[in-house]
């Protein structure tokens, strides 16, 4: 239903949102007030406008009262604008004759004085009513979706997402910056609460990725550039030099034996420096792909050129190329899944736990490697000073639930600490103490696992550890690490001497999360993890269409949750791909040629080169396909010849006027 003889008929709806809005804003008063504004035919309040009955109310009114403009005052447009536009369109009114007023996030949730809040709600409503009168009918542009997908990050989340998509027949490129996929999970010994071996469940998936016909696996590679928009992204990937030809190497590892270094001397990353490797190495036995690489920092040949190059001679497949340079690939994809994972908290930041000062203080990942059969001590629990611990203390919440480091709960530490307690006891028969604030065992079979540990008489002391010190005040403490903690169960401060301390470090965003965020044009939440479009309703979407997030890059997660999210992200990508096309917000700029003087001021302002200069006509010309709708050129055009759909000057002026108008509604002529 469009405007009959140009008459503007507005329907206004203010939502209670249960009590969320109605508790602070006098919604009835707002509805009454708006009813008196020009062009307003219907003005109602309703408990939940986003509910079916709420939308039905809209449809019915549009029909009964021949409404051709709709204003809903409820939550943020970022949440429900689409909902109400769709409802408006269903009732036969162009969806862009709709305007939303945010009186929840911007009013009822942030203000306490009902009078002030109600006043503000009225102002915002009046502004929207004026604005909507100036709206125009628009047709959104649709673009097609390239079915190929890019997955960034080869941890368990990235692996699962890639396999899901590949099995659905989509072409996937998986980019991992490390020399192998597997991520953190590959470092674990066993997984909670089932205690099944991490390698046993992960490595099959890793080789599945390697061998899948639909997956292109690029390891030791990084995304350096992302152009385009949903359905049509162009991505540049940098391949870091391995100094080994990936296609020729079969992973026989003979080059490693041949290396002029007879002994492994370099601290090895995979074992967190607890073990050593040579300059030419393979990260770990099941590394995928099974390809060796050379670390340019320590390889004499690469660094100085002065080396017998025994490795090169040894390789009869001539796979080793010491002159390899970085190379670039450009691919086009329609959707992108980010699964870039997390970083463990650096306990050096909490100096009072002595990490880095006392050799026998470890972080959890190091403990994982120590008890791992394929670890540096082949599973023997041997400390840095060669001793075998008789007592071990596990300190929970290191870098979690702490205002001075990270406020959030890392969600996995309680459970992996329980797991480590079990395994450490199993491996060494040591007495194991857990120092915890709360045991958070929310998950299938998690609480049961906790019970099991209690029966294994692992000690649990409830209290945040104050410090780990070697300050011995009694002879028994000499040569030990003393854990000072308030035992809040018995209300005394205790000093517990132990041989080994394991710090259950929390999860934090990758150190380059901000750069990655910029690269893919998405946002981060306060903690620095990638920001989801909606915490509940769109947990794997981002504010940039076609880019999804999965796993711990969005927030601390354990394996099951990461895998679940990876599946969800894959499903979201598939949804786009299979629908084949997507409607774009029609907020593009356009030019009224007769007003353009050809002054060229706008041409260089557009970062997307959407504006060009027509030499024959001496006029500018805007390519709406390239325009992303920022409106910078509109604000600049000195002739007022450029306009922006959805954000017309007239629309914004009427919003300003509406917000500041102090005339009584009777006299407010638009």
């Amino acid at each position: 239903m469009s405007e009959q003889n140009g008459e503007i008929r507005i329907g206004f709806y203010v939502c209670h949102c249960g009590h969320n809005i109605a508790n602070i804003v006098d919604v009835a008063a707002v509805a009454r007030y708006v009813a008196g504004l020009p062009h307003v035919v219907v003005s109602r309040e309703y408990k939940y406008m986003c509910s079916d009955p709420g939308q039905e109310l809209l449809r019915q009114d549009i029909h009964d009262h021949r409404l051709n403009r709709i204003v809903v005052a409820s939550c943020s447009p970022l949440l429900h604008e689409q909902t109400f536009r769709t409802a408006t369109a269903k009732a036969g009114v162009n969806p862009f004759y709709f305007q939303m007023v945010n009186i929840r996030e911007n009013v009822s949730w942030v203000h306490e004085d009902p009078a002030e809040a109600t006043l503000k709600a009225r102002d915002l409503a009046r502004a929207a009513v004026r604005r909507v009168a100036a709206h125009k009918a628009l047709q959104p542009k649709t673009v097609s979706i390239n079915p190929d997908v890019l997955v960034v990050g080869g941890g368990i989340a990235g692996i699962h997402a890639a396999l899901t998509l590949a099995n659905a027949g989509k072409k996937v490129t998986l980019v991992e910056r490390a020399p192998t996929i597997g991520g953190h999970m590959a470092m674990f010994d066993k997984t909670f609460p089932t205690l099944d071996c991490a390698a046993c469940i992960l490595t099959p998936k890793m080789s599945a990725v390697k061998n899948h016909p639909n997956i292109t696996l690029w390891t030791y590679a990084e995304v350096t550039k992302v152009d385009g928009f949903v359905g049509n992204y162009t991505v540049t990937v940098k391949h870091k030099p391995r100094y080994v030809k990936e296609d020729l190497c079969v992973g026989c590892l003979e080059c490693i034996d041949a290396c002029v270094y007879k002994e492994a001397k370099v601290p090895d990353e995979f074992n967190r420096g607890l073990g050593k490797r040579k300059p030419i190495y393979i990260p770990f036995p099941q590394a995928t792909p099974q390809v060796v690489l050379i670390d340019p920092e320590t390889c004499i040949a690469v660094k100085s050129g002065k080396c017998k190059r025994t490795c090169v001679e040894k390789c009869d497949r001539l796979a080793i190329d010491l002159d390899q340079k970085e190379s670039f690939d450009e691919i086009t994809v329609g959707t992108i899944i980010l699964a870039t994972g997390f970083k463990t908290f650096d306990p050096k930041r909490v100096s009072y736990y002595g990490y880095g000062r006392y050799p026998n203080v470890y972080i959890s990942l190091e403990a994982e490697r120590l008890i791992n059969a394929s670890g540096p001590t082949s599973g023997e629990l041997i400390l840095r000073d060669g001793r075998r611990p008789k007592t071990v203390g596990i300190v929970h919440c290191v870098g979690s639930r702490d205002k001075n480091t990270h406020r959030w709960c890392s969600r996995t530490c309680c459970m992996y600490s329980l797991k480590l307690a079990h395994l450490l006891k199993e491996h060494s028969g040591a007495e194991v103490y857990n120092f915890y604030i709360d045991i958070r065992a929310a998950g299938k079979a998690y609480e049961e696992f906790y019970d099991k540990l209690l029966e294994e008489n692992v000690h649990f002391i409830r209290g945040r550890v104050a410090e780990v010190t070697d300050w011995a005040v009694i002879p028994e403490e000499e040569g030990k690490l003393i854990i000072r903690v308030e035992d809040t169960m018995i209300g005394v401060v205790r000093r517990i001497p132990v041989d080994m301390v394991v710090l259950a470090v929390g999860m934090e965003p990758q150190s380059d999360a901000q750069e990655v965020r910029r690269l893919f044009n998405i946002s981060c939440s306060t903690e620095g993890f990638f920001l989801e479009r909606h915490p509940k309703l769109a947990p794997v979407d981002t504010f940039t269409d076609g880019i999804f997030i999965a796993g711990a890059c969005q927030g601390p997660k354990d394996i099951p949750d990461s895998v679940a999210q990876a599946g969800a992200a894959a499903a979201q990508a598939l949804m786009l791909i299979d629908s084949g096309e997507i409607k774009l917000e029609p907020n593009t700029a356009y030019l009224t040629e007769q007003n353009c003087s050809g002054c060229k001021s706008c041409i260089n302002l557009c970062p997307y080169h959407a504006i060009s200069y027509l030499d024959d006509k001496h006029r500018a010309s805007i390519n709406e396909a390239l325009c992303k709708g920022c409106g910078t050129c509109v604000a600049s055009c000195p002739s007022g010849a450029i306009h922006q759909n959805l954000f017309e000057d007239e629309e914004i002026y009427s919003e300003i006027d509406g917000l500041l108008a102090e005339r009584s509604p009777e006299s407010t002529a638009v």
């Binding site: 100096s351 009072y352 410090e467 300050w471």
Partner: protein, 299 residues
Amino acid sequence: MKYLYYPGCSLKSTGRPYDESLRAVFAALGIELTELDDWNCCGATAYASIDENQAFGLAARNLAIAEAAVTDGPPTIVAPCSACFLVLTKTQRYFEDYDHVRDGVTRELAAAGLTYRGHVKVRHPLDILIHDVGLPAIAKLVQHQMKGLHVASYYGCQVVRPFATFDDPLYPTSMDAIMRSLGAETVDWPLKTRCCGGSLSGTIKEAGLRLNQHLLVEALRKGSDLVVTCCPLCQFNLECFQKQINKNYDERISLPIMYFTQLMGLAFGIPEKELGIRRLFIDPLPVIGALKGGVPAHV
């Protein structure tokens, strides 16, 4: 480098060696210290618990006159005494963060015909030495390498807590780094920010002495030849109660406790008279002088 200097009451009395050695060392490093004209008590008393507004006002007066004193660039106050540093820093922080404090202080100062715009930076000598001067510059001035001297750096509780502006709040290392740049070896002792007994030594003596004893015993256990500190109260406590501790707890402690700036001065070859060494009760020179490459007796 030019800074305003806020000595506070301690450095004019019990802490004079700190004042003298700090001035000498900073001068040697080419740092110009101008004593803040007409400074007053920082308010590190019970004042704050009696009338917060006036307590902040008292401290803020120093900030206000400092702000007025400097025309080029933001004024920086160097406050060596831990208590002064803490109180002035706190006042600055609260002035920035809390409207009611800002308004209160503004009122209090107005009564004295003063205004404060909140531009003063309050800094500690350790901060200046580490971040403005830098360790290489310090090392360059060293004439007598403190080789083989085992030093325990003691920070006390106030310089880094609760406002850790320039170092780790629980395991600071700036003083240790400076000591190492003098050629000394620093002992890694866990009690470097633990309570020295503070004013307890004057009130609940037993408690004060116990805390005090812990520090001294652990410092010796870690093989320290002497303790350097940056706090007048800590220096006083640790040095002056050793006899009593030996008597009460049957210890044999005689451990020199000096200001870190004094050791720097000696290393720089500044005559000990200018460093107030003689004002110390336990003469550190024997243990230092005994060292190879240490300070010759004549200085």
